[in-house]
């Protein structure tokens, strides 16, 4: 569903991402771990075609992201650390706008349905986003992904700064989307959540993927130990 082949990005000779090859299938959650500057966000920016790769390719649903960027975006949804919405519009209006931009058209009741599916309290839907908490914005982001029926989710530290309950709700939603067949790439610092929700984890350092493993094969403590080992080297 999502694939990178020898994907490399350098800025003035220094490599932000080096030779990344990975594949995420439908029904998988792949968690990218690593310190700040390890190349996690660079990977997501490349997949969104916000920056051009230095070499290598990235495909979504088999389509090259640099060749046909608009087509690949039909299949994906992007949820950054802060889902950025228009403050003067309500959550419902934001959802309506973003789904309209993606080419879909829904009735008001359907849109409200997506928002409640994403866990937004019904009375909040009509309020201006300027009054929303961070967790509520993330839920609108999820609702956009649901409305698009995104096959690929690109998440950049989506739960950092969320309180444990909100983070837990978010993870539950991710699992639901995974079960309905989405391929999910999530950059995160949260080892616990990576082990809990992820099907696979990859550890990145200085732009390289230094380790990759299946979460079912390791325990919490193992993951932490392996992670710290890599960070120390």
């Amino acid at each position: 569903m999502l694939e990178t082949i020898h994907l490399t990005k350098s800025y003035n000779g220094s490599k932000a991402l080096e030779d990344l090859s990975m594949k995420i299938n439908p029904g998988e959650i792949f968690c990218l771990l690593g310190a700040n500057g390890a190349g996690k966000t660079t990977t997501i920016n490349l997949l969104l075609n916000f920056i051009p790769p230095t070499s290598g390719t990235a495909t979504i649903n088999g389509i090259d992201v640099t060749q046909r960027p608009l087509e690949t975006k039909k299949y994906l949804a992007y949820i950054p650390e802060q889902v950025m919405l228009y403050k003067n519009l309500s959550g419902l209006e934001n959802l309506e706008y973003f789904t309209a931009l993606s080419g879909a058209k829904y009735q008001r009741t359907e849109l409200l349905c997506f928002l409640s599916e994403a866990g937004l309290p019904p009375e909040a839907a009509e309020k201006r986003v300027g009054t929303y908490s961070k967790g509520m914005r993330q839920k609108v982001g999820i609702a956009i992904a649901i409305a698009k029926s995104a096959r690929v989710l690109l998440l950049d530290e989506p739960t950092s700064g969320l309180d444990p309950k909100a983070a837990n709700e978010f993870s539950e939603l991710l699992k639901k989307m995974r079960d309905s067949g989405s391929a999910i790439l999530m950059a995160t610092h949260d080892l616990f959540r990576a082990k809990e929700t992820g099907t696979r984890v990859g550890i990145m350092k200085h732009g390289r993927m230094v380790a990759e493993m299946r979460t079912e094969e390791i325990g919490h403590t193992d993951l932490e130990r392996i992670y710290l080992q890599h960070m120390h080297d």
């Binding site: 920016n45 969104l48 916000f50 608009l70 975006k73 039909k74 994906l76 949804a77 992007y78 950054p80 802060q82 889902v83 950025m84 919405l85 228009y86 003067n88 519009l89 209006e93 706008y97 973003f98 789904t99 309209a100 931009l101 993606s102 080419g103 956009i144 698009k148 690109l154």
Partner: protein
């Protein structure tokens, strides 16, 4: 897609208190300008009507006198104001709208409000044209500077592009949204303007103004389109909203404040106009030059022609012939001097026109005045017609003197029957085609500006970065 984006942009703007306040102020100023223009138009038109009637009554009722005294008594001629002049007064306040027509002189124009106004009034006069040419562009800058840079700074640009929105659609939608927001201001103002026009003029004049109104609307549409495109392009191109605002305000100051003054100075330096004092001194000298010789030659020629030895024996009145000869010499001098002066003004206007390559306002100003019937070319057209009329009066009166004055002994006087033979002054303002024939370079330059601005905006949008 584009309309969805436009609708969202408008919703955001309308909900933004800053937009509501600014728009309210601009709308109030625009409405005020239209109302003031309407009042001014009504007043001046009424004054003209009365003055035109009174000048005729005075002419006819001036009693029994020598025709040459009547020629000195003189008449006024008034330049009719077009309904659209309530939007743009153009050069009227400076050059005047009435001419005093009398013997021997091509007079300067009268009724120049700028002459009586204080310096403050001269710069502060609020007209529809000022609002449209200066304030609306400022509003466009304020509405547009953060269109892309603001979304980039807030992170919404990444979100929007991640769902697969096309950059060109975004730009078109934003332009349309700003257009819609301006429309909420301009459409009521235009309706008010048309209402004022219809109240101020009869239906015939209003109907005749339709092509001019359409062209004026096109002019301002192109102007606002160009400015919106420039502002969108800058917003997409530069790094931050602050830089976009500074750049665009710089452009606005250059376009609406610096360029008009600077170009006026450049035009004056390149094609200097004589001072009024100097001009009239040289004119008087040219009129007087060789007067005695001319008079002697005229006398000798006439005596020879009629084969008599003294003026009193002539079958025609020598004073009539000599007056007309004086007029004709004067006319030659006036033609030379005024065509030189007007040529200089025309050259200055050309400097303004071609400077609009740097500042589109200059092309807009020229078009706007031209279509309102208040530019210098239409002033000159009227002045020429008034002068023709003056010359016709002098010819008629002098030929009466020439033919009949010699037959009477004592003073030669005439009455109402002769005054009535002088027709009333009637003047038809040039049509739209006449205006277009002179203004098409301005229209071309403005269109070119708009096309280049749109091209710049589309290139800047295509290379739009997310951070």
């Amino acid at each position: 897609m584009v309309t969805t984006i436009a609708r969202k942009e408008m919703t955001e703007m309308v909900r933004d208190g800053r937009f509501r306040w600014t728009a309210g102020i601009v709308l109030a100023l625009l409405a005020g300008a239209v109302l003031m223009g309407w009042q001014n138009y009504r007043e001046v038109s009424a004054q003209h009507e009365t003055a035109q009637r009174v000048t005729r009554e005075h002419w006819l009722g001036q009693g029994t006198k020598n025709p040459h005294s009547a020629a000195h008594y003189g008449v006024y001629a008034f330049k009719p104001k077009l309904p659209l002049s309530l939007v743009d007064q153009g050069v009227d306040p400076w050059v005047g709208v009435s001419a005093w027509l009398e013997a021997h002189k091509q007079n300067e124009f009268k009724y120049r409000p700028a002459q009586d106004a204080t310096a403050l009034q001269r710069f502060g006069e609020l007209t529809g044209a000022t609002v449209l040419q200066v304030l609306i562009p400022l509003l466009i800058v304020l509405l547009t500077f953060s269109a892309f840079s603001g979304e980039r700074e807030q992170g919404t640009l990444r979100q929007v592009l991640s769902v697969g929105a096309r950059k060109s659609d975004l730009a078109a939608g934003k332009a349309l949204g700003i257009g819609g927001a301006l429309g909420t201001l301009l459409i009521p103002a235009i309706m008010l303007g048309v209402l004022a026009l219809s109240l101020a003029s009869d239906n015939g004049a209003l109907f005749a103004s339709v092509p001019r109104m359409a062209l004026m609307a096109l002019t301002y549409l192109l102007y606002f389109g160009a400015l919106t495109a420039v502002a969108l392009g800058v917003s997409a191109f530069v790094r931050s909203s602050r830089l976009a605002l500074v750049t665009l305000l710089g452009f606005w100051i250059f376009n609406s404040l610096i360029a008009p003054r600077a170009v006026a100075d450049i035009a004056k330096a390149a094609y200097p106009t004589p001072s009024a004092f100097d001009f009239s001194k040289r004119l008087d000298a040219a009129l007087q030059e060789g007067a005695d010789t001319r008079n002697r030659q005229l006398r000798e020629g006439l005596l020879k022609k009629y084969n008599v030895d003294r003026v009193e024996a002539l079958p025609v009145s020598f004073s009539g012939v000599s007056l007309q000869a004086g007029e004709e010499h004067g006319n030659e001098v006036f033609d030379r001097f005024y065509s030189g002066l007007w040529n200089t003004f025309h050259q200055q206007e050309q400097v303004h026109l071609y400077s609009s390559v740097a500042a589109p306002l200059l092309a807009v100003r020229s078009l706007s005045m031209g279509l309102a019937g208040t530019d210098f070319a239409q002033h000159a057209h009227f002045a020429t017609a008034a002068e023709e009329y003056r010359r016709a009066i002098q010819r008629e009166l002098n030929s009466e003197i020439t033919a009949n004055a010699a037959k009477v002994t004592g003073a030669y006087v005439r009455g109402r029957d002769l005054w009535e033979r002088i027709p009333e002054f009637s003047y038809e303002a040039p049509g739209t085609q006449w205006v277009l024939a002179r203004q098409w370079p301005a229209l071309m330059l403005l269109t070119l500006w708009t096309a280049l601005a749109v091209l710049f905006a589309s290139v800047a949008t295509r290379t739009l970065r997310t951070e």
